[in-house]
């Protein structure tokens, strides 16, 4: 559908920019704008007219934490550039402390809290990945593993058979232990994927993975005795963890004049 009446276009654009176009009408207008250059132009014209009014407001300085958060989020962007992932924003993960972790899996899995850093990384990966949408028949699995809201590792499975573990923030601790990566299905015990480096990327060949990597499946890294867990199950503190997000990336480039991105 397309609007043809120039007066109507201008009126709708003016009320969109003023802000009085609301609710369903506003959403519909935004949709129409995606495919209608005349609408975008009308909006750009009205933005040029009205938006400078905003200059009349008395400035109010935002608190410092706003910038700190922005910086953290765009910092995450830089980290994610290395992952070159096509992912979605449905990353999840939350922060918990070490010891009681394994015993409380069901508890925090139920929370479904989206870690802001993880979400930012995946969003950024989406925005910064290939400029056109690529729908892969076998979408890449990605998880951002966090510790207290801070991204430490990105786990990717570009295709079945191996897993890439990319370092975001190295530990560089004393070399008297090993880090072990686990995959934890929604209803099952943790399975070891292998040992990962505490300072550089690790590629793990894993051809016998019997866990289906679906949304909600969890990755976690535990601290284990040198050589890995002696029992085949995690024994040490959880250093970071994150829930899988998978979906073919579908992004559209930002539209000029739309003012909403």
């Amino acid at each position: 559908m397309k609007l043809n009446n120039p007066e109507l276009i201008s009126r709708l654009a003016s009320e969109y920019v003023l802000g009085t176009l609301r609710g369903g009408a506003r959403r519909r207008f935004v949709q129409l704008m995606q495919h209608d250059a005349a609408l975008r132009e009308a909006v750009a014209t009205w933005e040029a007219h009205l938006t400078p009014l905003a200059d009349l407001v008395e400035p109010i300085a935002p608190p410092r934490r706003v910038w700190n958060n922005i910086e953290a989020r765009i910092g995450a962007t830089a980290a994610s550039n290395r992952s070159n992932a096509e992912t979605n924003q449905n990353a999840a993960g939350n922060a918990i402390s070490g010891g009681g972790f394994w015993g409380s899996l069901p508890f925090w899995r139920g929370l479904g809290v989206v870690g802001s850093t993880a979400a930012a990384i995946l969003l950024a990966a989406t925005l910064r990945s290939a400029p056109v949408a690529v729908v892969s028949p076998d979408p890449m699995v990605v998880a951002v593993l966090e510790d207290n809201g801070e991204a430490r590792l990105i786990v990717e499975q570009p295709k079945s058979g191996y897993v890439m573990v990319k370092m975001v923030k190295p530990w560089n601790g004393p070399d008297d232990h090993s880090l072990e990566l686990w995959v934890i299905p929604k209803d099952g015990a943790p399975r070891s994927i292998g040992l990962v480096s505490d300072s550089v990327d690790t590629k793990l060949i894993k051809t016998d993975m019997d866990v289906r990597l679906t949304d909600g499946t969890l990755f976690a890294v535990s601290k284990e005795p040198k050589g890995g867990s002696p029992t085949g199950a995690p024994t040490g503190a959880v250093l970071c963890k994150g829930v899988i997000a998978r979906m073919p990336a579908k992004t559209s480039p930002p539209r000029p004049g739309q003012g909403q991105i």
Partner: protein, 185 residues
């Protein structure tokens, strides 16, 4: 926003941010944060929401700075539109309780000191749109201002001014037409 030198500086910061220059991006933030925070705060009316809007907007600005060159609008207009749209998206959700103006200002508008950058932004030429706004009738001016600055909908403006909804819609439509005539003359 008619200040050409300032807009050129902002455009330069934006294009440097577009190639990943975080220092330029930080300067851009410093030069515009207080205006944009104020713009959002007046619409969403709660500091934590305005902070959220500012954060999301600047992450978007960072991610899309490289595409700004094609936007064909002045940098401050481009950024303000992003902030306004995000703010309006927020108030589209269940309407926040409208507070008495005075209470609103006491609760929300305690200021932190302004740096020289802010004053620079503040000092820019805004005479044209101001001049045109002054050409509106009393109720037209009030209606357009309430909608623009406070993010009020037609019916909220009607309630606020104690006038029928149809009257307010007419005020706003005619007010916008008159502004357009004035700005394009």
């Amino acid at each position: 926003m008619a200040d050409i030198a300032l807009n050129e500086r902002l455009a330069a910061m934006l294009s440097r941010a577009g190639i990943g220059d975080k220092k330029a991006f930080a300067e851009l933030y410093d030069a515009t944060k207080s205006k944009l925070f104020s713009v959002s705060l007046r619409i969403v009316r709660e500091r934590h929401l305005a902070e959220e809007v500012l954060q999301d907007s600047f992450v978007s600005i960072w991610n899309n700075a490289a595409g700004y060159a094609t936007a064909k609008s002045a940098p401050m207009t481009w950024m303000t539109a992003i902030v306004r749209n995000r703010s309006l998206d927020l108030v589209r959700r269940p309407r926040l309780e409208l507070q008495d103006e005075e209470e609103f200002f006491t609760l929300n508008l305690e200021d932190e000191s302004l740096g020289p950058q802010d004053q620079l932004v503040q000092a820019r030429d805004k005479s044209r749109i101001e001049h045109c706004m002054k050409g509106l009738d009393g109720e037209q001016l009030q209606s357009v201002s309430l909608a623009f600055f406070q993010g009020l909908s037609h019916s909220e403006v009607a309630e606020h001014l104690g006038r029928p909804l149809g009257t307010i819609k007419t005020h706003i439509r005619r007010g916008l037409l008159r502004l357009k005539g004035c700005l394009e003359s």
